[in-house]
Amino acid sequence: MKKLMIGNQAVAAGLHDGGLGVVSSYPGTPSTEITEFLSQYDDLHSEWAPNEKVACEVAFGASLAGARSACAMKHVGLNVAADPLFTLSYTGVNGGMVICVADDPAMHSSQNEQDSRHYAVAAKVPMLEPSDSAEAYAFAKSAFELSEKYDTPVLLRMCTRIAHSQSVVETAEPTPAVLKDYEKTPAKYIMMPGNAIKRHPIVEQRTLALQALAEDCVYNTVEMHSDEIGIITSGCSYLYVKEALGDSVSILKIGMPNPLPVELIKDFAAKVKKLYVIEELDPIIETHVRALGLEVVGKELFSMLGEFSQQTIAKAFGLADKASVSADSPIPARPPMMCAGCPHRGIFYTLAKNKITVHGDIGCYTLGAVPPLSALDSTLCMGASISGLHGFNAARGASAEGKTVAVIGDSTFMHSGMTGLVNVAYNATNSTVIILDNSITGMTGHQQNPTTGFNIKGDPAAKVDLEALCHALGINRVRVVDPYDLAACETAIKEELAAAEPSVIISRRPCVLLKTVKHAPPLTVDADKCRSCKKCMKLGCPAISLKDGKAKIDATLCVGCGVCKQLCAFDAIN
């Protein structure tokens, strides 16, 4: 049946139709929908894991048990899952195992633009890279056979444009899921030195076998149209090359970026006068081509930064710019911002007002960095707020401890905040951590997590008690505050910063976008009472603007949270 699918839906359909038994993932843009779509199937086990390392290990266990398994994550998630990945390369698999990883060139929703292909090379596992949804389906489906035949996990690399672009997919007959036998095989699966040392040569032999496959496989294809220009490319870069240059050049399209073919590339290079490599991010293919002693044009012409487009390719090949017109007036930026009624706002307002140094983390609340709140000092990676705060306080001592906090969301705390908090307690800095508990994984589009009480299918599940957990991790002072109550936020933050021991403040209120959250009627400004002091404007609430010098509340955006009302000294907001 023909369907229009985003790449991630096609991956999900491909994995399912390839006989998937178990999938475990942690959400992360642009990979999240793979697992969301898989959760709609009832003939497999799907789950949100607390982090990518857990997810990858769950997939390993399922593979060991004989099921075809998968996990999905964004590029930085693979950093977290890198530990199991590198040794999975040695153990190999029982049931086929696919690790989907989605890169984010141009950082639409990420903190860096690392290139996941390095992991395939470093961990010595094969990687497939589709260029549209039809290939995403086919590659995902066939990845299990590749995995089982070569006894290796397979990386499936997506990028934002492929993951989130819809194109036409024709699905095939599903392969029924089969549970292979499990047999205890210590030499293969217990990676202690004596066993691992015997597995390493097997990994090297496997790479040679996969290289042989790369010479002649469905993933790598040649289109000969010209003996002048030959382009080696892959993924979405292939699409841009076809769009810009059509059939005027010859193309070697790489669908398996690791391991790369040797003879295929040499043959292709021999048939053209000038050879180019066009790939987004790092020069992985180019480095390989150069190592073969071939002359090639690559990164000197095509940037390592951001995304390409057909325009990038056209410009590089000297094609004329397409005529276009633009306005002369400066166009103000429209950055994303915290929603009207966002429960994080009250905490950030209080922190900014008291000039607190704030170690941030990854989630919607990273938007606390945006003016006018400008409340954050740092954001590095998942969980780094708490460990960073501890290090900051260890370095600066008491002078910092009373003026510094970490902020971390409920899902991020489950992901990798707990170990940082243990460290605070164990190594005793007088640190204050604020857990922004909005009862959901917000930024990636509302996924359940271990603190919400529901699983991926929305069914009731065990719910982590954050207060009890923080106590158990060694923190004696744990208190809960409602972020809609500014006075309570102020008191809590001041008291905990003044306390002579580490503490946790749980700022608890569900995300205002959750369907279960009931909104209060919108507030209005009494223009006669408004004295234009602009204090309410300091909240950075998108519902509040100034009209003729007076505050005005947009009734379609306001959810009646009442935070601005608490700030108004003239009782103008009601």
């Binding site: 672009s165 397409k322 017109v325 007036s329 103000p332 994303p336």
Partner: protein, 190 residues
């Protein structure tokens, strides 16, 4: 057939994703090769959002670059101006005249350009402005701005009226079908 490029731009939360879903599915059912590209993630949070819809015999790139768009459908004035350079010569912008101030304007760090559509018209850009919000409210919901705009664009795409109506019936939840059909007609006849 040459590839046709449509851009749908607006502010996160305005419903541009439903518009692209409707259009993409309709075009596929009409037998075209289709690609629809959107960037998710922070888009729900009031940021500028852009969706590309491309169709033809064989579509390669999922994105539209400067000077390529046959039509830009903008849910908001400023966003029309932001992406105007993507319009090709002879293309047109269908724009909802609604103004939504971005945060830099709200806090006084930047100015919302006055008469920005007139500026584009003066430069020869084919701008078709309509108050889609008013028409949507007339149809029964301010959320139907997307369907009003699709109705306005529908006239010039080579797809019969009945097919659009069928696509609405297949895409939106049953209880909203009548309201959306009304919104579509208001845009179509605007």
């Amino acid at each position: 057939m040459k590839t046709t490029s449509v851009m749908i731009v607006g502010v996160g939360g305005q419903g541009s994703l439903l518009a692209s879903k409707l259009l993409g599915r309709l075009l596929m059912d009409e037998g075209y090769d289709v690609k629809v590209s959107e960037v998710h993630g922070m888009s729900q949070r009031g940021g500028s959002v852009v969706t590309y819809v491309r169709f033809g015999d064989k579509v390669y790139s999922p994105i539209v670059t400067e000077g390529e768009a046959d039509v830009i459908i903008s849910f908001e004035k400023l966003e029309a101006a932001r992406y105007a350079s993507y319009l090709k010569e002879g293309g047109r912008i269908v724009v909802n005249t609604q103004q939504i101030d971005p945060m830099p304007v709200i806090i006084g760090a930047a100015q919302y350009p006055v008469d920005v559509l007139d500026e584009l018209i003066a430069k020869g850009v084919n701008v078709e402005a309509l108050d889609a919000l008013a028409l949507a409210e007339q149809a029964g919901s301010s959320k139907a701005v997307n369907i009003v705009l699709m109705g306005r664009v529908a006239k010039s795409l080579d797809i019969p009226y009945e097919r659009w109506i069928a696509a609405i019936e297949n895409t939106v939840a049953p209880k909203f079908v009548e309201m959306n059909k009304k919104a579509f007609d208001l845009g179509y006849n605007a």
